[in-house]
Each structure stands twice: as structure tokens, then as C-alpha cells.
């Protein structure tokens, strides 16, 4: 279809609006309520334009293009309409731009310069709108500024999947609010702040701390979840003041999750480690870098020299950069130890040595929208992967059939095709049921060992959706990777993928879960679980808090307390380190170092530091390089992080090579479920890594609440405990005192006790047997 806008001609597809055509032509039409990712509301009326033969000005955002349409965006009629609307928008808008946080980046302010009058004809009293407290992240303190564009409302309904904000009341008394007294708890809520075209919704942590024009913008990449959201980090006086999304349609679109956005508070936390520390006479003392490095060098040499290389174990966080991971494994191997790993929360390593390539998502993020069917296995989807879940949510709203094979948990807020929630022990069996259903549907004999499996109606529905879809995908979530039979789950998912023609992949636990494989931070000897199960003499920990990050914190703590040497490279001085670390080397978080993260789809995303390191902290890769030099190991001559990266990934590669989820596994046979209660452990969203744990505002959210023992009412009745009553939870030697909570989403026979929290750090395996009794 052809359309002429201000004399310029554009060809647009059927169904386009005037706004689409104008954007294609680069013609700007002023607007507030219109947003390319949200539904059309046409309520601000700012985009009124003149259309030939139309008696009235029409909203460009909502008017479909007809062939031969002639549009005038700057004609007298259009300008008069736009100015008229601007006058209405301004009559009740407070004149508080000088103290408004949005000042300088306010769409209303910008457009008022072009379309507003220099004085107001409105002489009456302005509307007063009462402020609302909606939680620690979003400030709704000055709601009189609201222009009722309902972008925030539509964001909730359409993107976050939950309508937490709505417009109550009518007339000029209409106001945006939550349901009486509720807070905004969505894990994507911060995007509403970006969407708000005025200063009505502002960032609570950032409020009144800087003006937008004082801030410098730097590109960065989120070090949290496996999406690797692109960020714009804004700094002032060498301090990170706030974090905003940087649009990348293929990765994070224009959104970021709240942990991407608000975790920056940890960067400026008082718990930051700014100088090296060594344990002297039982207490950690600050020392100079040369002293600390000298100490570490000698201690490592002594231990590996005296007790053999295998007495050393090294663990890295999957949030660490590719460069750090690469140098750590090189250092460890140089010292004669094969015990290096980054898969801290993994329990089952049976696929090590049997994988064909680097495990990854199985397809690109941008291809999710083309799927006909998707199955997610073992994931607390929304909290583990907010942005990935958002993509599936959009898919579910269209034609895609999204199914879950879960361990229960929060409502994913996705229009689901089918859901099966089972206990951890039954998860392989439930997946096997889908495999068998798929085989039956294809009239193929089921694989050996599947004789006793009986597919239920939901398994059949899932299998059918995967088979029927031209493009289907199977995603293994975090719980499936942490599961005690992770290898079986992987093999079964691969089998299902083969049967149905779907892709199979891992959503990935952390920002560099793929990068860890690429950097070969993988064990030749002991793996992450064995390192603590078979205690070592010396440990090098890179960005790891073992009591929170490991599959079995009980074991980890015991091993660390008994070790002769614990060297921690960490940005923070608090936490368990105080108890067991012998040396603390201050390394910088992602904003103070250059580095590379490889996201779940294998995308290589390098970034630069955005501020200078705090105090004496140094980038992890530099510290490891110098340690390599001091230990006289070969291969530590790099001058820049780029050189380190180029050792791992060929320069200029956009995606890593060797991505393949294939696995060679033996035949599967069902294993008996253990007697008694099983633990289901989730990693709460704001406990997942060391940055979010120290982000003050995030820690005040409901999602950061202290763990409880969640179980169904039936389980509660069996244990004779009531909702809210304290229970003693025991695994092995360790125990925790938690309140019991009724939660019908927890599968029968299970108790959900979150990991990654100090109150549960005394417990053992994430998915083992657990004993619960009345306290």
C-alpha cells in the first residue's frame, strides 16, 4: 500500500498504521501513549494528524493506512489539534519540572517546548492526586504528573503478564493505582519507569540522586541471567547512578528485568572489598597487593608442591567473565590440578565426557516467536528467567503452545497449553511419559526401558503439540540442570527432540553458563560437587559464595573450614568469607572491568568497564594474570582482556562455535522414588548472585522475603503443622528453623525450601530427602 506523508511516499504492508508508515519514513509524529511493543490505546490524542478527505484529525497510531492516503503531520489543522491536546495535557500537570526526576528526559517536557504555550489559560485549581506506596522499586510519589497514557497498565497486562496497575475512577479524577494497598511485585516492573513518559513513575533507588543531563552513558551487558540483557549504565563522578535497558531486539528487546536494573546498588555497597586482606592471628587484616599476592603465590606453591596438584580445587561463579574463567582454569591446570568447575549448583555430572559440544539454548532468542510449540522442563520460569519467560508469554498469546513440566512453583503468567507438576524424583518419569507419548503418536516402538511408563492426558497433549508444530523447542531449566538425575533429563529431552523434530536446549543458569564451557572451566579431575565431598587442602574461589552458591552448602562449608588455604577473589568483604577465607583479593564487578559474557544462545557480548575500579580492587582477569606470572606459569602474557578473549574465541566472532546439545547416554530405566519427603529448592530471584544479594532495594521486595517451608495443605495435615507455624527442617547434620507456609503449587510429598539464603545454608542437597517436624 502506498501512503504519502508530508509529500514523501512510503510503501507499507497491509494493516500498517499511519504511525508505522511515518516511522518508516523517519517522520516524527508526537505521541505519548503509543509504544511499539504495546497495544494501541489511542488515548493521549497527541498524534492527531490531518488525513486528506477526513473531516476530523485522526490519531496516527490507530488509523490504518489505506491505499493512496495523504497525510499531513504539520498542516495547520494537525498542528492546531496537537497544540490543543498539549494544552489539555498541561492544564493539570504540575509545574514542578525543576525538581522532577524526569526533567531533561521527559517526553512531555520535550514536546511542550514544541507544542505548548508559554503561559497557561487554565486559571483554576489543579488536580491533586494522592501518592501511593507500591513497594521499594517504583516511586508513585507525584501522581499528579500522570497524563493517563496507560502505558504502565498495558505493560502489566501485555508484557509482564499481570495487571498490577490499573486506571481507577473516571473523569479528571482518573488515577493510576494498584489494587487497594497492593505493591508492584512483577520481576519486570522497572520497565514501567522507562515507559512512563512523565515523572509519575520514577525509580525509588535513583530518585533525587542526579539529573539526567549530569549522567554519562556507557554500554554494558547484564551479568545476571542467561539472556545477557544489553544495558546502558549511567554514571556520575565515577559512580554508577542507574542502569537502563539498551535496545537490542535480538536479545532483550527494549526491556530488562528488575535485577538487571536495580542490582547496581550493590556496586556502591559499603560491603565492597577495596583492599586485599589476609588472615593474621585469626582475623582478616588489610594488606598491600604485593603482600597478598606474595602470600598467595607461596601458599599455593607450598601446598601443590608438598601435597600434589590435586590438593587444589578452583571454583568460579557462572556470572564471571569469559576471561576470568579462562585464566582461572589455566592457572589451576598450571598448578597441576584438574579440579576446576563453574557449575556450582549442579549435582549430576554424568554427561561430562559424553557431550557432543557446548550445551546451549538450542536456538536463538529471536527465533522463539516463530515457534509453534515449546516445552519447558524443570524451571521456576518467571523468577529464573524473567525476559525469556516474557518471550514465551508473547508466544503463548499468539499461536504458540507453551507447556511446562515443572516442580510446581509460581504461576508463570503464560497462557499454557499443558502443565504437569511433579516431585523432583518423578521428573525423569514425567519426561519419559512425554517421550513415550510422542513415540506412540508416531507409531514407533518406545525406547527400551519405557515399558512401565504410562503417558497421562497432559503428556499426550504436550507430545502432540511438539509433533504438530512445524517449529518446536524443548528447554531445560535451572532445576533440570541442578537435578540429581540431570544427565537422564538431558538424554530424555534429547530423545524427545529427536522423536518430535524439536530443538533441545538449556536456558542456562547464569550470564556466562555457556561461556564457562567455552572457556573450558571444566574439571579434568574433581567436579564442583566432588571438590567439597572430598575435601581439598586449598581452594581458589572466584566470585563464589559457597554457602549460597553451591548445591550442598553444608558440605561446602565443612570443607572450606577444614582447608589449609582458601583464596577468595571477590568484590565483597562480607558474608561467609569472614569465617573461612584466608586471603581476600578484591576483584571488580562487571562495571569496573572489561570482559565477555556468552549468553544462552551463544552470543558473544564483550563490554568495557564503565567506571574506574573502586579503591584497590582490580579486574579479575588482571589478578589471575599476575598470579600466573608470579607462579611462573606459561601463557600469562596477555596485556588486555581482548587478548585473553581471543585465546578462547576467534576475534570478531558474533557467536561461539561448537554449540551442540547432543549427548550419548545409555538406556534409561525408571528409578524408585525415595520414601519420605523430598526437598524442592528454588533459587529466589534476588538471591541468585552476589550482586543482587547486596542490592538494597531488591532486598526489600516480596521476592526477597526469607525462605519458608512451603508445602501443600495435605502435607501440612500429615505433619500436623499449621500455616505460619515454625518447623524444624533437617537434612543430614544440618537443620533450619523456618515458618511453614501453605502452598498448593508444591507437588505432593514435597517441601519447597529455597536455596541461596543464609537461613537455609546449613541444609544439604537441593533435591534430596528432607525431614520436617514441628518445632
Amino acid at each position: 500500500m502506498e501512503i504519502e506523508i508530508d509529500g514523501k511516499i512510503a510503501q507499507v504492508p497491509d494493516g500498517s498504521t499511519i504511525m508505522d508508515a511515518a516511522q518508516q519514513l523517519g517522520a516524527y509524529i508526537p505521541h505519548f501513549c503509543y509504544h511499539k511493543k504495546l497495544s494501541i490505546a489511542a488515548n493521549c490524542r497527541m498524534c492527531l494528524v490531518q488525513v486528506e478527505k477526513a473531516p476530523k484529525p485522526l490519531p496516527a497510531c490507530a488509523t490504518p493506512v489505506t491505499n493512496g492516503m495523504k497525510v499531513f503531520t504539520h498542516s495547520e489543522l494537525a498542528i492546531k489539534a496537537q497544540k490543543g491536546v498539549m494544552e489539555f495535557l498541561l492544564i493539570n500537570h504540575p509545574l514542578d519540572c525543576p525538581i522532577c526526576d524526569q526533567g531533561g528526559e521527559c517526553q512531555l517536557q520535550d514536546l511542550a517546548v514544541g507544542y505548548g504555550g508559554s503561559s497557561s489559560r487554565f486559571q483554576e485549581g489543579k488536580r491533586v492526586v494522592f501518592h501511593k506506596d507500591v513497594g521499594p522499586l517504583i516511586s508513585m510519589q507525584e501522581m499528579a504528573r500522570c497524563i493517563h497514557c496507560t502505558r504502565c497498565v498495558r505493560f502489566g497486562q501485555e508484557i509482564a503478564g499481570v495487571m498490577e496497575l490499573g486506571m481507577a475512577n473516571r473523569t479528571m479524577h482518573a488515577e493510576i493505582m494498584t489494587f487497594v494497598g497492593r505493591s508492584i511485585d512483577s520481576e519486570l516492573s522497572g520497565n514501567m519507569i522507562d515507559l512512563c513518559p512523565v515523572g509519575a513513575l520514577t525509580s525509588k533507588p535513583f530518585r533525587y540522586s542526579a539529573r539526567s543531563w549530569e549522567l554519562s552513558r556507557r554500554k554494558s551487558v547484564s551479568p545476571h541471567d542467561s539472556v545477557g540483557a544489553n544495558l546502558t549504565v549511567q554514571i556520575k563522578n565515577n559512580v554508577v547512578m542507574r542502569v537502563l535497558p539498551r535496545e537490542n531486539e535480538d536479545v532483550n528487546e527494549c526491556w530488562i528485568s528488575d535485577k538487571d536494573r536495580f542490582s547496581y546498588e550493590a556496586l556502591n555497597s559499603p560491603a565492597r572489598l577495596t583492599r586485599p586482606m589476609i588472615r593474621v592471628d585469626g582475623a582478616l587484616r588489610e594488606v598491600a597487593w604485593n603482600v597478598a599476592l606474595d602470600y598467595v603465590t607461596h601458599a599455593l606453591k607450598d601446598i601443590t608442591g608438598g601435597k600434589g596438584g590435586e590438593s587444589l580445587a578452583a571454583l568460579a561463579s557462572p556470572h564471571a567473565t569469559l576471561e576470568e574463567l579462562h585464566l582461572l582454569q589455566k592457572l589451576t591446570r598450571g598448578l597441576g590440578s584438574g579440579s576446576v568447575d563453574f557449575r556450582l549448583r549442579r549435582r549430576d555430572f554424568s554427561t561430562d565426557g559424553k557431550r557432543v559440544g557446548t550445551p546451549w539454548l538450542g536456538r536463538r532468542f529471536s527465533e522463539i516467536k516463530d515457534l509453534d510449540a515449546a516445552l519447558v522442563i524443570g524451571s521456576f520460569l518467571r523468577k529464573d528467567h524473567p525476559l525469556f519467560a516474557q518471550r514465551l508469554r508473547q508466544l503463548g498469546k499468539q499461536w504458540g503452545k507453551v507447556s511446562l513440566l515443572s516442580l510446581g512453583g509460581d504461576d508463570p503468567l503464560i497462557n499454557l497449553h499443558a502443565q504437569v507438576a511433579v516431585s523432583p524424583a518423578e521428573l525423569p518419569l514425567a519426561l519419559a511419559a512425554v517421550v513415550k507419548a510422542a513415540a506412540q503418536l508416531k507409531n514407533e516402538p518406545p525406547p527400551a526401558g519405557f515399558e512401565a511408563v504410562e503417558p497421562c492426558a497432559s503428556s499426550q497433549a504436550i507430545a502432540r503439540s511438539l509433533l504438530d508444530g512445524e517449529q518446536s523447542a524443548i528447554f531445560l531449566g535451572n532445576a533440570a540442570e541442578q537435578h540429581p538425575q540431570a544427565g537422564q533429563l538431558h538424554a530424555l529431552a534429547a530423545e524427545l527432540a529427536k522423536l518430535t523434530g524439536a530443538t533441545c536446549g538449556f536456558i542456562g543458569e547464569a550470564a556466562n553458563s555457556v561461556g564457562g564451557y567455552v572457556a573450558k572451566a571444566l574439571p579434568g579431575a574433581l567436579n564442583a560437587y566432588e571438590m567439597f565431598a572430598q575435601p581439598r587442602q586449598a581452594y581458589v574461589l572466584l566470585g563464589v559464595e559457597p554457602e549460597l552458591d553451591c548445591h550442598n552448602p553444608q558440605q561446602a562449608l565443612a570443607a572450606l573450614k577444614a582447608a589449609a588455604l582458601v583464596v577468595m577473589l571477590t568484590p565483597f568483604s562480607d558474608g561467609g568469607a569472614v569465617d573461612y577465607a584466608d586471603v581476600l583479593l578484591p576483584i571488580t564487578p562487571f562495571t569496573e572491568t572489561s570482559g565477555t559474557l556468552v549468553n544462552a544462545e551463544g552470543r558473544v557480548q564483550s563490554f568495557n568497564g564503565v567506571v574506574r575500579p573502586l579503591g584497590d580492587a582490580r579486574p579479575g582477569w588482571k589478578v589471575l594474570r599476575v598470579l600466573g606470572n608470579l607462579l611462573a606459569l606459561p601463557g600469562f602474557e596477555q596485556d588486555s582482556s581482548e587478548q585473553v578473549r581471543d585465546e578462547v574465541i576467534a576475534a570478531g566472532e558474533g557467536f561461539v562455535s561448537g554449540l551442540d546439545n547432543g549427548v550419548s547416554a545409555g538406556p534409561w530405566s525408571p528409578s524408585a522414588a525415595p520414601a519420605g519427603l523430598q526437598r524442592v529448592a528454588d533459587v529466589p530471584i534476588y538471591a541468585a548472585d552476589l550482586l543482587v544479594r547486596r542490592a538494597a532495594a531488591l532486598q526489600k521486595t516480596h521476592d526477597a522475603a526469607a525462605p519458608s517451608a512451603r508445602m501443600s495443605a495435605a502435607t501440612m495435615a500429615k505433619l500436623a503443622v499449621s500455616d505460619g507455624a515454625p518447623v524444624r527442617v533437617r537434612q543430614g547434620e544440618g537443620e533450619a528453623l523456618l515458618p511453614a507456609r501453605a502452598d498448593e503449587t508444591v507437588p505432593p510429598g514435597c517441601v519447597r525450601v529455597a536455596a541461596a539464603h543464609l537461613s537455609t545454608a546449613a541444609l544439604g542437597d537441593m533435591f534430596g530427602a528432607i525431614n520436617v517436624e514441628r518445632a
Binding site: A41, P59, V85, Q123, E124, R170, A174
Partner: protein
């Protein structure tokens, strides 16, 4: 209110107040014969619509859109669900006819909707009834039960194989829910806010399905059109303005109430039926079509006949047929203040010009009425109304602006006097006398 008088009535023929609304009475009056005949003869859908087209029945809700044409917009071959919806959300100040139709002749609406559903291939209908007339909602539910029991609703109507189920749905009294798309939102359980059009309800209506929405009186007229034939119905009125219509007369007349008269009847006749001006006073102005219609001064009004075209020529709208009569004791500023307050209160708050503009209009008119007017206020009001009109999602913005524009246009002197002298041109005691609540005499 009640139906107090009629000339050549159809809708109100044979009604006996509260005594003759039941199914048996309706059937006695010839009710359900039209539906029965259509179903028994298996009349083609097109011919039913044609009959309605021939009658030139124009929508009785206010816009006056030809009903037959509206019905023909429905995609009859559309395979999925389709809906017919009756708009009984009578909220326009001055209008009180639909409640009387539902109270005294509910089965005519049910029959009309069933015929409409047949003609458009819909199997489901809703009657959205204003939330502030609860007893009428209850009565309509009772009438529905009667119709269901008699086989005029439900599956396989009168053995014809045609299914039609009709439900009553009551609102909560918001004026905006009388706007057809806001009404649909409200039925869907959402906040009553108009949708942007296009798409129109005929392609994307209730639950996203093709939907036709008509006024109560429109549906109630359908059985009479089918029985009489479209042409006879048209002749009952005047060219391009078919049939009879109920007029709700309120204001300064002796006998306010509903009157059914053929379209084209002179205003003077209608005024006479209503007992003439109260206390024999002079007519000052009249709002001929509900509060959103522009006001017409006495002289022009007396020259009008009551039909869509004549009123339109006089610069106003027949609207819903709500005739608000004002005599010489009326202060036009005060009258406008009350009207503007209504629109300010009822704006849904969705789109900017109406949300902000209606409040602004009211505040300025309120100020003028209360002796705080400023010299440039009339110009400001003119400017604000033009900025609202035609810029909003629905017609409420226009409805709020038209009274302001017309009041100032026709009674500019009164407004100017108010602003200049900080008081009414019509003395307060005269106003009080006219109100009827005070004993003072002029």
C-alpha cells in the same frame, strides 16, 4: 414517568399501565406474530433486512443511523459467534423512554431482538440495562423467563431450528456505558471505556465477534415494521423519517412524560399534548434531543416538526427524543452549568481532550455562574470546545461541547451580562418561581 399520550400509536397501543406487560397481554395485542411468521415462512434473512430498510427506521438511541443499513453491515456468512446487543443504558439527561418500553412492553423488545438475531444469524443477545433502574431489570428478567417458557427464546425457536438465547445484563449507572463500545467492554466485565473505531462492532464487537447494537426503542419497533410492512411503517411518519417515536418531555410543561407521536408532528402539537407551558409562561428555549443536543431558541423550535431532518435544519439533533423545555424563568448560565457538570462527572477519563476539557468547561461555566467570570471566558470556552470536538475517541467530548457552544451562541447576552454584572439576567426570585419548588409568584 409514564406514557401519557399518543397520536396513532404503535408501541404504546393497547398498553394499560402496569397491567398489560405480560406475555399473554402482548400476544393478545398481536405480539410474537411477526417472529412466528418469519420463522414459519422461513423468510430469507435478506428480505427481513430489506423490510427494515424500507421502513427507514432510524436508530432511536440518538445518532439516527438507518437501522436496516446497520444490519446489512453484519457479515452474515461469518461462521463463528455473532451477537445482537440491546442498548437500554438510557443515561442521557432528559431521556426516560426506554425504561417505559421495558416496563410496559418488554416483549416487544424481546421479539424485536429475536427477529434481528434471525436476520443477522446471531444466536446470542444481551440487553444491557441501566443500573439505576433496578426494578426494570427485574421485570425484564421476568419477561425473559416468560418468553423462554413459551418457546420464543432458547434453542429451536417454535420448531424452526433457529436458536436464540437472550440475557439481561445490568450496568451500574455510568453514562459512558451507553456508548456502544463502552457498553461492550462493560458486558465483557471490563471498565466501561469506549474503544477506538475502526474496527466497528459489526466486524469486531462483543468478545471480538461481529455485533450489532441497537437502542431499545429500535428493537421494540421491529415487530410493528414486520407486521405492518416497511412501507406502511414509513408512511406513519414522514419521508426519510419512518414511523412513530416516543418523546420524553421534561422541564417547564404541565404534564411531563412520554408521548408517542408520528415523526413529523409539529413541536407545537407535542407541547400541547404535554399540557402546554407550566403556569402559562413563555417558552424560552428547548433542547430537542437530550442534553447533548444543541439548544434551540423558542422561535426556531416552534417552527420545527419533530423529526430528524427538521430538527437538524434548526441546528440541533433529534437525538433520543428527550425534549427539555425551558421557560422564561430559566437562567441559561445556570442551566449550562448543570449540563457541563454532568459531562464533567461522566467523562470516562480515557482520552485527553475529554478528560481534561470537560472539567475545564465546567469550572469556567461554574465560575461565570458564581460571579467570577472574566472578560475572555466566552472566547476561552469557544476555544476549549473546538479543541475537544472531533478529537476524542467517542462522542462524549462532542456531547459536552455542543451544549456549551449552542448556549453561548443563542444566549450570548445572558452570559456576557453574567460576566459583566456578576449576577443573572433573570432575577433570582423569578428563577425560583419557575423552579416550582418555591411558592413565590412572578
Amino acid at each position: 414517568m409514564a406514557i401519557l399520550g399518543a397520536i396513532n400509536p404503535m408501541l404504546s397501543l393497547g398498553l394499560d399501565g402496569d397491567k398489560a406487560w405480560r406475555l399473554a397481554d402482548y400476544v393478545k395485542r398481536g405480539g410474537y406474530s411477526a417472529l412466528r411468521r418469519i420463522l414459519e415462512e422461513k423468510q430469507p434473512q435478506g428480505s427481513v433486512i430489506n423490510e427494515v430498510k424500507k421502513s427507514v427506521l432510524r436508530g432511536r438511541g440518538g445518532a439516527g443511523f438507518p437501522t436496516g443499513l446497520k444490519w446489512s453491515f453484519m457479515p452474515r456468512s461469518f461462521p463463528g459467534d455473532k451477537y445482537v446487543v440491546c442498548n437500554s443504558d438510557e443515561g442521557e439527561p432528559g431521556t426516560f423512554k426506554d425504561r417505559d418500553i421495558l416496563r410496559y412492553n418488554p416483549h416487544s423488545v424481546i421479539e424485536g431482538m429475536a427477529i434481528a438475531a434471525y436476520a443477522m444469524g446471531a444466536a446470542c443477545g444481551y440487553n444491557y440495562i441501566h443500573g439505576e433502574v433496578w426494578e426494570i431489570y427485574e421485570r425484564f428478567e421476568e419477561a425473559l423467563d416468560e418468553a423462554r417458557a413459551a418457546g420464543f427464546l432458547g434453542s429451536d425457536l417454535l420448531g424452526s431450528g433457529f436458536n436464540f438465547e437472550l440475557f439481561a445484563h445490568h450496568g451500574y449507572g455510568a453514562y459512558i456505558c451507553g456508548e456502544e463500545t463502552a457498553l461492550l467492554e462493560s458486558i465483557e466485565g471490563k471498565k466501561g471505556q469506549p474503544r477506538f473505531k475502526p474496527p466497528f462492532p459489526a466486524s469486531f464487537g462483543l468478545y471480538g465477534k461481529p455485533t450489532t447494537i441497537n437502542n431499545t426503542e429500535t428493537f421494540a419497533s421491529i415487530p410493528y415494521i414486520i407486521n405492518l410492512g416497511g412501507e406502511t411503517y414509513l408512511e406513519a411518519g414522514k419521508a426519510n423519517n419512518g414511523g412513530t417515536k416516543l418523546f420524553s418531555i421534561s422541564g417547564h410543561v404541565e404534564r411531563p412524560g412520554n408521548y408517542e407521536i408520528p415523526l413529523g408532528t409539529p413541536f407545537a402539537t407535542l407541547l400541547e399534548m404535554a399540557g402546554g407551558m407550566r403556569g402559562g409562561r413563555q417558552l424560552k428555549a428547548c433542547i430537542p434531543g437530550g442534553s447533548s443536543a444543541p439548544v434551540v431558541p423558542a422561535e426556531a423550535m416552534m417552527a420545527c416538526t419533530m423529526d430528524y431532518d427538521s430538527i437538524s435544519k434548526a441546528g440541533s439533533m433529534l437525538g433520543s427524543g428527550a425534549v427539555i423545555v425551558m421557560d422564561e424563568t430559566t437562567c441559561m448560565v445556570r442551566a449550562l452549568e448543570r449540563l457541563s457538570f454532568f459531562y464533567y462527572e461522566e467523562s470516562c477519563g480515557q482520552c485527553t481532550p475529554c478528560r481534561e476539557g470537560t472539567g475545564w468547561l465546567y469550572q469556567v461555566v461554574h465560575r461565570i455562574e458564581n460571579g467570577q467570570g472574566r472578560a475572555d471566558d466566552l472566547e476561552l470556552l469557544a476555544c476549549v470546545t473546538t479543541n475537544i470536538m472531533g478529537r476524542t475517541i467517542c462522542a462524549l467530548g462532542d456531547a459536552a461541547s455542543m451544549p456549551v457552544q449552542s448556549f453561548i451562541k443563542h444566549f450570548h447576552d445572558e452570559f456576557a451580562y453574567h460576566i459583566e454584572h456578576k449576577k443573572c439576567l433573570v432575577p433570582v426570585d423569578v428563577q425560583r418561581a419557575g423552579s416550582g419548588f418555591f411558592t413565590a409568584r412572578v
